[in-house]
């Protein structure tokens, strides 16, 4: 199977050099051709996208952009649509995630981009989304209008299917001429989405391009960085630092670094009736995308004092992970990944010998690992791929000092607690740097309009032009109708 990645308006397939990336999983393989553009081609493409966005995308009412995106998403949500069938067939091979995970994950995720949800994105950031179409009266007097970037460059990372759509769609909503650089780990969905948009509205298809270069290819990256006025980049802090250091100082740089998610469970949630279903939700969050999402849980803090103890709850989670191992098998791990998992587990086993309050559940050969510790332990990454540490605490208040030192890496936390406790802990977690608090079972599915990393998806992309009231009043003086 050969699949071509990217979306290159104004460039014919034959004009471009292609490189093949090989993927294999679940007994199948696929070869993905990714475009390798020359410097002149890249600059011409940037100019083409910028010009077309200026001439067309920026003239469209935001409502029409919403309608077009909605149509494209509807096609990807339609399980009989050829694009969706292709996604369901190929993404499991490319990312290694099992078919059900990809299918369910994609459907849940795509639902956040239907028209009503896109309205929510807009409403979250703009009191009056019409500000993207025309000057609107401002509270302080005068008028304001929001303009998206001329050329917005997205640098995506990771293999979580469709991760790219979040920022890609945000950019389109603010009418940005768009260049998206796909990650080698999932180079396809962004390009498919761009092609669907182009099928629905060919002129819109000229306003965005999906490209690729080898990560670390400083030369190619430099060309694109020089062209963009706004850069959204995902990746580890080292990669982000390298991009930031090469980006023009005049460009707006919006980084999304890697994060550690965690969960916190109140004693009130741990009665014998609730603990089982809750453990299933925890396990669900752990298996979805093998904990590779920034929002995925890597540690679980469980309060003592409930009918079910932290240790018993860890057992329940372990049992649920065992069940999921059959229905949603873990993807095959590389030697390095497997070695990381084994080192993490063995280290915990070794520590368990010196500490009676530490238990490693299950067998070393199991495709999951749960460790339960009775003494407070600071937040730390697990080995991913279904490895979870359960830390017993006396109350949720004890969680805050354990996570607070890691502010730069905080983002999502799932909390299971009654309302009063939820708000009390949310207050303190927010102050410590947590930007998203959700229910268990929902960690990997942020709701529409979510402020990724606590920032504004759309507002961060635009610049505001103000007509001050003085200009408005002065203009009256120059009118023909003035007396």
């Amino acid at each position: 199977m050969i699949e071509r990645a990217g979306h290159l308006p104004a460039l014919a397939v034959g004009e471009v050099e292609w490189r093949e990336l090989d993927f294999a999983a679940w007994g199948e393989s696929v070869q993905v051709s990714v475009p390798v553009l020359g410097a002149a081609q890249a600059r011409a493409l940037a100019e083409h996208v910028r010009e077309n966005a200026r001439a067309y995308l920026k003239t469209l009412p935001v409502a029409q952009i919403v309608a077009t995106i909605d149509k494209a998403i509807a096609r990807l949500l339609d399980r009989d649509d050829p694009w969706r069938r292709k996604a369901d067939a190929i993404l499991p091979i490319v990312t290694g995630y099992d078919r059900e995970t990809v299918r369910l994950g994609l459907s849940g995720y795509l639902r956040t981009f239907r028209a009503p949800q896109l309205q929510r994105f807009l409403a979250e950031d703009f009191a009056h989304p019409g500000i993207l179409d025309a000057f609107q009266p401002a509270m302080k007097g005068g008028f304001t209008r929001a303009y998206g970037p001329e050329l917005l460059l997205h640098i995506w990372a990771g293999n979580v299917p469709g991760l790219s759509l979040w920022s890609l769609i945000s950019g389109l909503l603010v009418k940005a001429g768009t260049i998206g650089k796909v990650a080698s780990g999932e180079p396809l969905l962004a390009g498919w989405f761009a092609q669907i948009l182009a099928e629905i509205d060919p002129k819109l298809g000229e306003c965005l391009a999906i490209v690729w270069w080898q990560g670390g290819d400083v030369e190619s990256e430099g060309i694109w960085l020089a062209e963009a006025d706004t850069i959204v980049a995902y990746g580890g802090n080292e990669a982000l630092t390298a991009i930031r250091d090469r980006a023009p100082v005049t460009a707006r740089f919006l980084p999304h670094g890697h994060k550690i998610g965690f969960g916190a469970i109140s004693a009130a949630a741990l009665d014998t009736r609730r603990a089982g279903p809750l453990a299933r939700l925890v396990a669900h969050d752990v298996i979805r995308y093998e904990q590779q999402g920034c929002y995925s849980p890597q540690m679980l803090f469980v309060a003592r004092g409930g009918r079910v103890s932290p240790r018993e709850f860890a057992e329940l989670v372990s049992q649920e992970l065992a069940r999921f191992a059959h229905t949603h098998p873990r993807r095959a791990l590389s030697v390095a990944e497997a070695s990381g998992v084994s080192a993490w587990r063995s280290t915990e086993e070794m520590r368990a010998f010196d500490a009676p309050g530490r238990v490693v559940l299950g067998d070393a050969g199991d495709p999951w690992s749960v460790v339960c510790v009775e003494t407070a332990e600071a937040l730390a990454p697990s080995a991913l791929y279904r490895t979870l540490k359960v830390v017993a605490v006396d109350s949720l208040d004890d969680v805050v000092p354990l996570v607070a030192p890691f502010r730069p890496f905080l983002q999502s936390a799932a909390v299971a607690a009654p309302p009063r406790e939820l708000f009390a802990i949310a207050e303190r977690l927010g102050a410590a740097g947590v930007t998203r608090i959700c229910a268990f079972g929902q960690m990997t599915a942020p709701e529409a309009g979510w402020h990724n990393d606590g920032r504004f998806n759309l507002l961060d992309l635009v610049t505001i032009t103000e007509i001050e009231s003085t200009a408005e009043h002065a203009a009256d003086g120059f009118a023909g109708y003035v007396d």
Binding site: N159, G185, E290, V335, A343, M350, L384
Partner: protein, 376 residues
């Protein structure tokens, strides 16, 4: 030496009573016997395992957790291998660690500055293991050779197993004019160039031994000085340890090509030693004419390639993680699960580099990056 099972006891009962002195004597005999069949290795391995199971408490608990005790383990391959990360968290020693003659520590470059430790109540086995193997694989029949050492000495690095290794090599196999060229000020290039000039003029073989990254520094310095040498036939090079961020990274082919052209030592005479602080025995290749070369150890060490999760052996030709079973590492644990990827092959194994530090393929923070961040 047929194991060390007391006459009155059946196999594996009673071996727990073996003393340190007995195990040392048995091991020295085993090293000196020149070769070992699978059965002989197995017998010795089970004796060493019984000794460690009896005397090394953390290892005993580890083995019990893995359901591998002296009662259940019948083959050396079943002896549970300890991941090397454990050396950072636990004191794995059969004797009181404060009575150790030497404590070798890892450089701490890979794990957020935490250093793994190996305690040696005596270095007599370590030294014998090193020398017998070194003579065979590096000296290749020569009694002594003039040596230049590209590594700090033992006084500067008292916890470095490599410093001890090189000191032993120089003392036991070096000619009197052998010397070290790395001091407090780094590489003493002028003195080294003078030594290389003398060696070139003498017609006598010369040996350069040291850390791989020191050779990169040397290559860069000689290139900057515009110097090249043609060391006499029989000259050889021993590098070890990789670059570890201490020098620029070089591909193996580029590295050995550069050594060969700059020093006049053919790639076939450039031997890479693969050793670990967590072992008492080293592995060698037979030159680096072709990379990666096959590496192997002496008859008192055996290696396996396993699936790191299940710990099961992988078939020859499959890439996995290396497990080394080094009987000479008697005071700690003999079976070590490394963080090195490898493939079993005819005559040994091929080393494919480290497997630690796998970053997340997604956007979650992985341990490797977390440690890098913690290190600052």
């Amino acid at each position: 030496m047929q194991g060390i099972v007391p006459d009155h006891a059946g196999p594996r009962e009673g071996v727990a009573d073996v003393t340190e002195a007995q195990i040392i004597e048995a091991l020295l005999g085993f090293i000196d016997r020149g070769e070992a069949t699978e059965a002989a290795f197995e017998e010795m391995a089970l004796s060493v395992f019984a000794y460690q199971f009896a005397n090394n408490q953390p290892y005993r608990r580890f083995a019990i957790q893995r359901s591998r005790t002296t009662l259940t383990v019948r083959h050396w391959r079943d002896i549970p291998a300890v991941p090397i990360t454990a050396f950072k968290d636990l004191t794995l020693s059969c004797t009181a660690p404060e009575q150790a003659q030497a404590v070798f520590m890892t450089s701490g470059t890979t794990q957020g500055g935490i250093r793994g430790k190996s305690h040696h109540p005596t270095l007599v086995v370590w030294d014998r293991s090193m020398l017998v193997n070194f003579r065979q694989r590096f000296m290749q029949g020569r009694e002594r050779i003039a040596m230049g050492i590209l590594f700090p000495d033992e006084a500067a690095m008292p916890n470095s197993s490599l410093a001890h290794y090189l000191a032993l090599a120089k003392q036991e196999c070096g000619t009197p004019d052998s010397e070290g060229f790395i001091g407090a000020e780094g590489l003493d290039l002028a003195r080294l160039i003078a030594a290389l000039e003398r060696a070139q003029a003498s017609g006598e073989p010369y040996a350069l031994l040291g850390a791989s990254y020191s050779f990169v520094h040397l290559l860069d310095a000689l290139a900057a000085a515009g110097r090249r040498f043609a060391l006499p036939e029989g000259s050889r090079i021993l590098d070890t340890g990789g670059f570890k961020g201490q020098s620029r990274e070089m591909g193996a082919d580029a590295f050995y090509d550069a050594l060969s052209t700059t020093l006049g030592v053919p790639r076939a005479a450039c031997i890479n030693m693969y050793g670990m602080t967590e072992l008492s025995t080293q592995f060698y290749d037979d030159g680096n004419a072709v990379c990666p070369p096959v590496k192997s150890g002496p008859h008192w060490v055996r290696s396996r390639v396993v699936d790191p999760v299940t710990g099961r052996d992988l078939p020859e030709g499959a890439t996995g993680v290396l497990v080394h079973h080094d009987l000479a590492h008697f005071n700690c644990v003999s079976a070590i699960l490394t963080e090195d990827a490898g493939i079993m092959t005819e005559g040994g194994f091929k080393l494919l580099g480290r497997v630690d530090g796998a970053d997340s393929k997604g956007c979650s923070l992985a341990v490797a990056e977390f440690l890098r961040a913690a290190r600052g």
